[in-house]
C-alpha cells in the first residue's frame, strides 16, 4: 500500500480540518444500529438456543476469525449476582464456535481479586464450561503492548494492553446489567476496565480512576472499534452495585454491534436516563441517546422495562415513566 502524501493531500486535509473546526459545534450523528432485546426468564438450557439465535440475527461474519469474549468477573458472593452468569458465557462461546469462528477465547482481568482462576471457579465457570482453563486468558497477567490513545478524553495518553485483546478480530463484551456507585450503571462499555492489566497497573486499576472514570471508559471504547456487546440482564443487580447491590431479575438479554447503543438501551430497560450517564454522554452526545437512536429488534423497551433501585446519590438519573 502506498502511504506517501502529496502536498495537495496535505493542503486538502488541512482545509477539511479547518472546515470541520468551523462547524465544530454541530452535533455529530451516529448511524442507527440494531439492538436486540430478547426475553429470557432464567438460566436454563433454553438460554443456549436463545443466545445463538440472538447473535446469529446480527449477521456477524466471524468465520475463521479470532474472537475474545470478555465477561464481567469481579468478585464472588453467593448472596448476590455480581458476575456474568457462566451459562451465558458458555452459550456465547458455543454460539461463536457454531458460527464458524476460528478461535474463541474467554478473557478477563478482575479489578479487585488477584486469583482470577480461583474467582472463576467460585463463580461457577469451571463447572459450567468444560476445559475452562484451556479456553481462558487472565488479562491481568497476559503479555502486554503499549498503545497510544488518539484524541484521548481522559488524562491518559497511552495504555499497556494485553496482546490477547489487541490481536483479536472481534471483542465481545458480555457484561452484567448492574447499577454502579461511581458510574451510575455498568454495562458493556464499563466492562472494558477489565482489559487493563493488573500486573502493570495494580488491583484496583486506580490509574483509570485518577484519569477520570467516565473518560477512560470512553477511551477504552475507542481503542477497540471492532466490538459486539451482550448484556446479561436475566438477573442483574440493583442498589449499591457493582458488588454490594441486590439481585434484580429483569429477564432479558440485550445485544448489538454498537456498545453505546446497547448500553443506552439497557439504561432505559433499567429505568435510567442514558442522557444522565456521563460516559454515554461523552461517547455519543445527548442528541444521540434518544429512544430512536437505536433500532430495537425483538421486544420493545416498554415491554421489558424493570426499574432498578437506585441509591440516594444516583436518584437523579431515574428515567421518567
Amino acid at each position: 500500500m502506498n502511504s506517501h502524501f502529496t502536498r495537495r493531500d496535505v493542503l486538502a486535509t488541512a482545509a477539511a480540518g479547518a472546515a470541520l473546526a468551523r462547524c465544530g459545534k454541530a452535533p455529530r450523528r451516529f448511524p442507527v444500529s440494531n439492538v436486540s432485546i430478547v426475553k429470557a426468564p432464567g438460566y436454563s438450557m433454553d438460554v443456549y438456543d436463545t443466545v445463538y439465535r440472538m447473535i446469529a440475527g446480527h449477521g456477524l461474519n466471524v468465520r475463521g476469525r479470532r474472537i475474545v469474549l470478555k465477561p464481567n468477573l469481579v468478585e464472588y458472593d453467593a448472596n448476590t449476582t455480581i458476575n456474568t452468569h457462566p451459562m451465558i458465557v458458555h452459550a456465547v462461546y458455543e454460539a461463536f464456535r457454531k458460527l464458524g469462528a476460528g478461535d474463541v477465547r474467554i478473557a478477563e482481568g478482575p479489578g479487585h481479586r488477584r486469583g482470577t482462576l480461583d474467582l472463576a471457579d467460585a463463580a461457577g465457570y469451571f463447572s459450567t464450561i468444560s476445559q475452562f482453563e484451556n479456553a481462558f486468558t487472565d488479562l491481568n497477567t497476559d503479555a502486554v503492548a503499549k498503545r497510544a490513545i488518539r484524541n484521548p478524553v481522559s488524562k491518559l495518553s497511552s495504555l499497556y494492553l494485553p496482546h490477547t485483546v489487541l490481536d483479536c478480530d472481534l471483542l465481545v463484551s458480555i457484561a452484567k446489567m448492574k447499577t454502579h456507585h461511581w458510574a451510575g450503571a455498568t454495562l458493556s462499555m464499563k466492562n472494558l476496565f477489565g482489559l487493563v492489566p493488573g500486573a502493570v497497573y495494580g488491583w484496583p486499576k486506580n490509574v483509570l480512576h485518577w484519569a477520570g472514570i467516565p473518560e477512560t471508559i470512553v477511551d477504552l471504547h475507542h481503542l477497540f472499534p471492532k466490538q459486539f456487546a451482550i448484556v446479561d440482564g436475566i438477573v442483574g443487580m440493583e442498589g449499591n452495585g457493582p458488588i454490594q447491590g441486590t439481585p434484580k431479575p429483569a429477564g432479558v438479554l440485550v445485544s448489538g454491534r454498537d456498545p453505546a447503543a446497547v448500553d443506552a438501551t439497557c439504561c432505559r430497560i433499567m429505568g435510567i436516563d442514558p442522557k444522565k450517564i456521563e460516559y454515554l454522554r461523552i461517547a455519543r452526545g445527548e442528541e444521540n441517546l434518544g429512544e430512536n437512536a437505536a433500532r430495537q429488534v425483538g421486544e420493545s423497551i416498554r415491554a421489558v422495562r424493570t426499574d432498578f433501585q437506585l441509591i440516594e446519590e444516583w436518584k437523579a438519573i431515574r428515567l421518567a415513566a
Binding site: 481479586r113 482462576l117 480461583d118 484496583p204 486506580n206 441509591i311
Partner: protein, 278 residues
C-alpha cells in the same frame, strides 16, 4: 516438591500461570527456591531475568514489554543477596523512598483540608506511580524497607519513618470486619468486606506492632478467613501473616495450586526458613 526448572521460561523468568515471564512470579519463585535447596542453574537464570528488568531510574519494570518502573521494585529489595547487586538494591530503595500514594501529596492534602476533611492520611505506596496507595504495595514496601534496615542501610531514620507511616496506613485501611481488602474500607458509606490474601499480607507487614484491639480483631479475621478459605493464595498469605504474629495456622488439606504464584506462595508459607519473615 515443585520442579521450578520445568516451569521456567527460556528467558529465565516465570509466568504467573503460563505465557510470558513477569517480575512478580519470578521474584516469588526465587524467594521460594531460596527457602529450600534450589537448583542452582535455575535459580541463577531466574535472577538474571529479574535483574534484566532493572531500569535507569532505579526502579524495576514488571515485564520486559513495560517501559515504566512500578510496585515490583519492592520485590527487588526482598530478593536474596546473591541475585541482586548491592548498588541495584540501594537504587531500588531510593526509588521506593521517592514514591508514595497520590493521596498523600501536598496538593491532595490541601484540597481535602479545604473540603473540611481533617483526617490524617499516612503515606503508603501505590501500584503504579501517580496513583493512590493500596494495601499490597504498601505491605511490600514495608517489608522491603525492613529488609534494608536489617542489612544495615545508612538512611535508617528515613526508612524507619516510612515504615511507621506504612503501618499506620494499613491500620487506617482496616475493614470493619477486622481484615483487609485491596484498600477500600468504605464505598459510599457502606463497609467493604475483607479478603483472605490481603488480610494475610497486611498482618505480615504489621509484624512487630504492639498488641492492640485492632490487631486482635485482625487476627480474629485471619482465623475466620482461614477456616473458610479454599485458595492457595489466601491460605499461604494467611499462614505467613499469622506466623509474623507468632501464631501457626495449619491447613486441614492442601488446596489446589493453579499457578506458579500459588505454588511459590505455598512453598514459602510452609518453609521453616521463610525469607519474608524477619
Amino acid at each position: 516438591m515443585t520442579d521450578w526448572a520445568a516451569r521456567q521460561n527460556s528467558d529465565g523468568g516465570w509466568a504467573y500461570s503460563r505465557g510470558c515471564s513477569w517480575a512478580e512470579p519470578t521474584a516469588f519463585v526465587l524467594l521460594a527456591q531460596s527457602a529450600g535447596s534450589p537448583d542452582r542453574a535455575s535459580f541463577l537464570n531466574g535472577g538474571k531475568f529479574f535483574a534484566s528488568l532493572a531500569r535507569q531510574d532505579g526502579g524495576w519494570s514488571p515485564q520486559p514489554g513495560v517501559g515504566e518502573s512500578t510496585w515490583v521494585t519492592a520485590l527487588a529489595a526482598l530478593l536474596p543477596e546473591d541475585l541482586i547487586s548491592e548498588q541495584q538494591r540501594r537504587r531500588a530503595i531510593g526509588w521506593l523512598k521517592d514514591k508514595s500514594g497520590r493521596d498523600s501529596s501536598w496538593l491532595y492534602r490541601l484540597r481535602r483540608r479545604l473540603d473540611g476533611d481533617k483526617e490524617e492520611l499516612p503515606e503508603g505506596w501505590p501500584w503504579f506511580p501517580g496513583a493512590s496507595a493500596w494495601v499490597i504495595p504498601t505491605s511490600l514496601g514495608i517489608l522491603a524497607f525492613e529488609r534494608a534496615l536489617r542489612r544495615g542501610a545508612s538512611d535508617r531514620g528515613e526508612l524507619e519513618d516510612r515504615i511507621v507511616q506504612g503501618k499506620r496506613f494499613l491500620l487506617a485501611r482496616q475493614c470493619a470486619d477486622g481484615g483487609w481488602n485491596y484498600g477500600s474500607i468504605h464505598v459510599l458509606g457502606r463497609d467493604g468486606d475483607s479478603y483472605p490474601e490481603t488480610t494475610g499480607i497486611a498482618l505480615l507487614a504489621l509484624n512487630g506492632v504492639p498488641q492492640s484491639a485492632p490487631l486482635q480483631r485482625a487476627k480474629a479475621a485471619a482465623r475466620r478467613h482461614f477456616s473458610e478459605c479454599r485458595t492457595s493464595e489466601g491460605i499461604a498469605w494467611l499462614r505467613m501473616g499469622m506466623a509474623a504474629q507468632a501464631e501457626t495456622l495449619t491447613p486441614a488439606a492442601d488446596p489446589v495450586c493453579r499457578t506458579n504464584m500459588d505454588a511459590a506462595l505455598m512453598t514459602l508459607a510452609a518453609a521453616s526458613r521463610n525469607p519474608l519473615l524477619a
